[in-house]
């Protein structure tokens, strides 16, 4: 909470990046207390580690201080306030943590976790993998995971094209000469 307030208040972008990193690490801690080590792992490595480094290298290319905002300050505050209130209102509808009658525990989860005699649970009996998270992600939801991997692949390709296109564009423009004059500049 203190971290969040500081992120909004601090004008130095360097401090902001550091604080978002701390926020991610705290988030990883929360995930850990919710017994979700897989998510905590990801949050700690991506949010606190890689994202911070990427933000810092972006900072190195731009400036270290954000500009003081100009213009009407009430409208953004209103939008943020209303969105936040909506989100809080939506959480009121959510079941309590660990509520056995929650929709998550009613859908397919009981089938994956059903106790089997030989193997621990159904997911293990069907996939041979004791970690249910891995079994669900890898096997039952293989399509989803393939899609996610493709998203990461696409992201990498996108960054390559946007940030790394300079060399090839020069080559291409020298070949096509007049055509790509504007682009090369």
């Amino acid at each position: 909470m203190i971290t969040t307030v500081q992120i909004v208040r601090v004008r130095s972008l360097f401090a902001t990046v550091m604080l978002t990193g701390i926020f991610s690490l705290l988030g990883a801690g929360w995930m850990m207390t919710l017994d979700a080590p897989d998510v905590a792992f990801t949050e700690a490595a991506v949010g606190a580690g890689i994202a911070t480094v990427l933000m810092l290298s972006t900072l190195a290319l731009t400036t270290r201080r954000s500009k003081t905002p100009t213009g009407n300050k009430l409208l953004p505050l209103l939008v943020v306030g209303v969105t936040g209130a909506l989100l809080v209102w939506a959480t009121l509808d959510m079941p309590h943590l660990g509520d056995p009658s929650a929709p998550v525990h009613q859908h397919v989860a009981p089938r994956y976790l059903a106790q089997k005699e030989i193997h621990g649970h159904a997911a293990q009996a069907e996939t041979g993998v004791p970690n249910v998270v891995t079994a669900v992600l890898g096997s039952y939801r293989g399509y989803d995971t393939l899609g996610e991997t493709t998203v990461i692949f696409t992201a990498a390709i996108g960054v390559m094209l946007v940030l790394g296109g300079r060399r090839r564009r020069d080559d291409a423009s020298s070949k096509r000469k007049g055509k790509a004059k504007g682009k090369a500049a």
Partner: protein
């Protein structure tokens, strides 16, 4: 190596000590994902983070020497290809797309093998993607 970097003796020594263990831990997360928390994505990020740390401490040039961008670019697509390839392989074996049960005689072993391979594919793509992102962001200012 720039003279500024030369000063950070502590950082360099600690990084040198840590990086092998980070890589080892990533491999553990990758191949122990069946039994404990973790899996391809997490392992890939940790593996990539080791390279990013190396690049931060020792400079982009040496990181590029350790992980040649050409190979990394190939690896980005290789992971997805491996994942999709498992799906196609299971189709050739007479099952549905990504139905690993048919990969081996025993459906259980097939499932296990399939999950292991696709997690490896995820890991390769994520590692390579993270390293690529870092290379392109960090190398932006100097070209």
């Amino acid at each position: 190596m720039s003279p500024v970097r030369r000063q950070h003796v502590i950082l360099r020594v600690v990084a040198k000590l840590l990086i092998p263990y980070i890589l080892l831990f990533a491999l553990y997360v990758q191949f122990h994902g069946d039994y404990g928390p973790g899996g391809g994505f997490q392992a890939g990020v940790i593996f990539g983070a080791a390279f990013v740390l190396y690049g931060l401490i020792f400079g982009l040039e040496r990181a590029k020497a350790a992980a040649p961008p050409r190979i990394i670019e190939i690896l980005v697509s290789l992971g997805v290809l491996l994942f999709a390839g498992v799906g196609v392989a299971s189709m050739f074996k007479g099952g549905n797309f990504l139905d690993y049960g048919v990969l081996e005689h025993d459906p259980l072993a097939g499932q296990h093998l399939g999950i292991l391979v696709i997690e490896l594919g995820v890991g390769i793509t994520v590692t390579a993607a993270m390293i690529t992102l870092y290379f392109y962001f960090a190398g932006r200012g100097r070209a």
